[in-house]
């Protein structure tokens, strides 16, 4: 177990270094730079600005300087939000994106898993087709359609919730539900598939043979096995959802990290983009590790040391 964790840690470090290097050079290979606005700066003035940020040093000098800084956990100053460091931007934005993401995930799990179980148990009947049709549609509808629709319905036609913002309980509901819906749909389908497979296994027949009630069989024996595909989906999904959603954050004016992801790339904010990519990969690695550990807990047949 310990050697497994150490091995994973080393792999994570190596992956992060590869990601850092690829991001560093790819970003600088794209035409345009952080100081190319519509209003072109006088070359001498531009040189002054670049000297401030050290972007006129040779690329290898920049690379090792930034790598050294990143290893120490300092992501440097942001180019576009010049009053802040990348660490400050992440410290302010990540808790907001992460809390929105967690609420959305809880909603998705709370709706998706029971729906999937019910659909599998009542396979081939109305309670299967109805929710599964809704789930298929839910997965197909893009966020930029669902969120504005929700605003029209629940902000203007039936004014239950505020149009935008983050911080009070009524501001949490619409964005969390809109962000969670497609995940709920996907989880419902995964749960149903997993459940159907488990229900046909020998040990379930044995459980019935022992005389257990259907409720006991489903909840105590089948669900654990049926959740394995959901758990492996949750790893990368959690990393994605915690680092923010561009569309929900933009439509509901939530000051999370999602918008930074897109804008830092568009505006060539090299340091901010790098910080976000590293954060995402770190989360992804951690989540995949958690998934592997959960597998062991849910399914005794899995051995992680091997």
């Amino acid at each position: 177990m310990i050697s497994f964790l150490i091995k994973r840690l080393l792999w994570t470090a190596a992956t992060m270094w590869v990601v850092f290097t690829a991001t560093f050079f790819l970003m600088r290979a794209v035409p345009g730079g952080p100081f190319d606005g519509e209003r072109k700066l006088d070359p001498e003035i531009k040189r002054n600005i670049e000297a401030r940020y050290g972007t006129n040093d040779d690329l290898d000098v920049q690379y090792f300087r930034e790598l050294g800084r990143a290893v120490r956990g300092d992501l440097g100053p942001s180019y576009k939000l010049a009053d802040f460091t990348v660490n400050e931007i992440i410290a302010q934005g990540f808790p907001i994106s992460a809390s929105l993401g967690t609420l959305a995930l809880c909603f998705a799990l709370g709706l998706g898993i029971p729906t999937g179980i019910l659909a599998a148990v009542w396979r081939g009947r109305g309670l299967d087709y109805g929710p599964m049709t809704v789930a298929t549609i839910g997965m197909a509808l893009p966020e930029f359609f669902v969120a504005p629709l929700a605003v029209i319905l629940f902000v203007f036609l039936w004014p239950l919730f505020p149009a935008a913002g983050w911080g009070s309980w009524d501001q949490l509901i619409l964005p969390s539900v809109c962000l969670g819906l497609p995940f709920a749909a996907y989880i419902a389908r995964l749960t149903r598939t997993g459940m159907l497979e488990v229900l046909s296994q020998d040990y379930i027949r044995t459980a019935y043979a022992k005389g257990l009630t259907p409720t006991d069989v489903v909840l105590r024996h089948a669900v654990k096995g049926a959740l394995l595909p959901v758990v492996s989906f949750l790893g990368p999904a959690t990393a994605g959802i915690l680092t923010g959603s561009l569309i929900e954050e933009s439509i509901f004016a939530i000051p999370g990290l999602g918008i930074h992801f897109v804008q830092s790339a568009q505006q060539r904010d090299y340091t901010l983009a790098m910080g976000l990519v590293l954060l995402y990969f770190l989360l992804l690695s951690v989540m995949n590790l958690v998934v592997d550990l959960l597998y062991k807990l849910l399914d005794p047949r899995v051995k992680i040391d091997s």
Binding site: I45, D57, P162, G167, P255
Partner: protein, 623 residues
């Protein structure tokens, strides 16, 4: 053991739910500010010397006050930190008298020395000011900022800074005469990166010749931070504690406009040098001199401003708190406005503009702006190097149709680069739509009915409105001239770089006037201007522009500028499309926010009429 963990698992989800909700709620809600507006983006900085955008300007103008302010309705310069000023006979020396009761927000007096320090900091190359070009009307300031040095010049040498000093502290400064520069100026490559400056500056200081270099690789010279033109020779003069003089290179009729512009606001030396950049801009450290103070900044959420109790004119500042929201989504901005959470929005979705004009005429009333939407033409490429082709392209356009398809807010068709609205100036008169003449010119250039005309491309940055406009132009040129035009869209950063390198045929552009004078537009097309980006170099145009910059008589000067613009619209290195109209919408209960030609609204003038607000909220069922 795993069994216990397994039992615990189902409880993980409700725990996460409660935890996340508590976490989200812990940010807490704030009591709303008295006045809330959508600033449309998270601003780059609150340091007045380092910014150049309109959203930044709105905040910085509230925090810092230059020598002069602008009248909220006419935008004419009015007294600010300077209570009065005089201009010399030759229109080259401006003397400003700073008010005795001027205070910083830490209650210390603000004097002429603060402005002297601030102008120097603004111009200092290391500050990286983006708007310094505006200050170049002041004598020798360009030499200082751009490090233009020649032998015999008075110079200042900044010695290395003390170790671990904050960004804002300068090293010891020596002054002397530049005797010689050894070595070559470094060449900047395409990316703007420059190789090391390995020059050696030989400077005579106190009768002794000393050698300085900024490169640690060069031996046989003292290491220094930088060598600049001597600031004492720049036209900024400290007369006494309350009097400051600015001496200009040429008479500059719009100079007071420049003086009232936010990059010329002062910052406090003690604050900057104690905390350094960017820490001095933090709400807990910042010292400012404007009508408002910075209470807090939440990234991508809002900036909260509170009324300053040290501001000289505080008796006339009506609002106690102001929120500037950073929301960027224009539909969200509109939603906030319609639900009563924002009182002023600075932009609107184009699709709803026609309806808003009909349903809310008092709140949304677009008026012409000091700005222009135009196409750059790359005159270094065939067949666009032929002026007849450029004129044919312009004459084949129906600008009304372009506006109806694109921005749709009653924009004004443009046949000149400079819009109406600058008192005393008559914009040039370009060729209006004339399809027969356009066809004739194209035939004369050798492309009758478009035969043999190579395929050209319109380049624009990815945006719905730009695409809609480009599509209409594409079809108009096809229909009227029989030429085939392709459309290329590029993401903003790439687009700017492509345009700059002249790797386009026709490229979309917009320009917003910085000050109330035709030169804010016409300077663009001077041969060596960085923003020319068309490859057009015209000796006659440059000559007229130079003559205008030396002319003292305002009427004659405007005539010269008009002639230059006439030359421009006949040569058409740029094809004007339309002049923008204002994009903002504001509630009727907001007072002191007048429509003007730059959508500039000093926040010290804004107030709320509570009775009107109660009436509007009741009528619309808002809380």
């Amino acid at each position: 053991m795993p069994a216990a963990v397994r039992k615990f698992l189902p409880w993980l989800f409700p725990a996460a739910l409660v935890g996340a909700a508590a976490w989200a709620l812990s940010i807490g809600t704030l009591p709303p500010a008295e006045f809330t507006f959508c600033n449309a983006t998270e601003i780059k900085s609150v340091d007045p010397h380092r910014i150049n955008g309109q959203p930044e300007g709105r905040i910085v103008e509230a925090l810092f006050e230059p020598l002069l302010r602008r009248h909220p309705e006419t935008l004419q310069p009015i007294p600010g930190m300077a209570e009065r000023w005089e201009v010399s006979q030759d229109l080259k020396t401006y003397t400003f008298h700073i008010r005795r009761d001027a205070l910083w927000s830490d209650d210390t007096p603000l004097t002429a020395e603060d402005f002297y320090y601030s102008f120097r900091r603004f111009l200092l190359p290391a500050t990286g000011g983006e708007y310094t070009t505006l200050f170049f009307a002041v004598k020798n300031s360009e030499k200082y900022t751009k490090r233009l040095l020649k032998e015999g010049d008075p110079v200042e040498v900044e010695l290395p800074k003390p170790a671990r000093s904050v960004d804002g502290i300068r090293g010891e400064i020596l002054t002397g005469k530049l005797l010689k520069i050894e070595g070559k100026e470094p060449e900047a490559d395409e990316q703007g990166a420059s190789s090391d400056d390995r020059r050696v500056f030989v400077v005579e200081i106190d009768g002794r010749s000393r050698r300085f270099t900024t490169s640690s690789d060069v031996s046989g010279a003292e290491l220094c931070q930088t060598v600049l033109f001597d600031f004492r020779e720049v036209g900024v003069r400290l007369v006494d504690r309350h009097t400051l003089q600015l001496v200009l290179e040429n008479p500059t009729p719009y100079f007071l406009d420049v003086v009232s512009f936010y990059p010329l606001a002062p910052v406090q030396r003690a604050c900057v040098e104690r905390h350094g950049y960017p820490n001095w801009t933090k709400p807990e450290n910042i010292v400012s001199n404007g009508a408002y103070r910075l209470q807090f900044r939440r990234i991508r959420d809002r900036i909260r401003l509170v009324k300053s109790d040290t501001y000289w004119n505080r008796a006339n500042v009506k609002l106690n708190t102001i929120d500037a929201l950073a929301a960027e989504n224009i539909t969200t901005m509109l939603n906030l406005y319609l639900t009563g959470k924002a009182d002023w929005v600075t932009d609107l979705p184009p699709s709803v503009k026609p309806e808003l004009r009909r349903t809310r005429p008092k709140e949304y009333d677009p008026t012409p702006q000091l700005s222009v939407y135009f196409y750059r033409v790359n005159v270094t490429r065939k067949p666009l190097d032929d002026v007849r082709v450029r004129r044919a392209l312009s004459m084949a356009l129906n600008r009304k149709e372009i506006i109806e398809a694109g921005p749709r807010a009653g924009e004004v068709p443009a046949l000149s680069l400079v819009p109406e609205g600058i008192a005393g100036y008559t914009p040039a008169n370009g060729d209006a739509e004339n399809i027969a003449e356009a066809k004739r010119l194209l035939a004369e250039a050798g492309y009758a009915e478009g035969r043999g005309f190579p395929r050209i491309e319109i380049l624009y940055n990815s945006h719905d409105v730009h695409r809609a406009i480009a599509e209409v132009i594409q079809s108009q040129w096809k229909r009227h001239l029989g030429i085939t035009v392709g459309l290329v869209n590029q993401e903003w950063g790439v687009f700017n770089s492509t345009t700059r390198k002249l790797e386009y045929d026709v490229s979309r552009a917009g320009w917003i006037g910085d000050y109330n004078d035709p030169t804010t537009f016409l300077d663009l097309l001077i041969s060596n201007n960085e923003n020319n980006q068309t490859g057009w170099k015209d000796a006659k145009y440059d000559e007229l522009m130079t003559a205008a910059s030396r002319e003292i008589d305002p009427a004659k000067r405007f005539q010269l500028l008009h002639d230059a613009e006439q030359r421009l619209v006949e040569q058409l290195p740029v094809i004007p499309m339309y002049h923008y109209v204002s994009k903002e919408m504001v509630r009727t209960y907001v007072k002191g926010l007048y429509s003007n030609i730059r959508e500039e609204h000093p926040l010290w003038a804004v107030s709320i009429d509570p009775e009107e607000k109660a009436r509007v909220f009741a009528a619309e069922g808002l809380r």
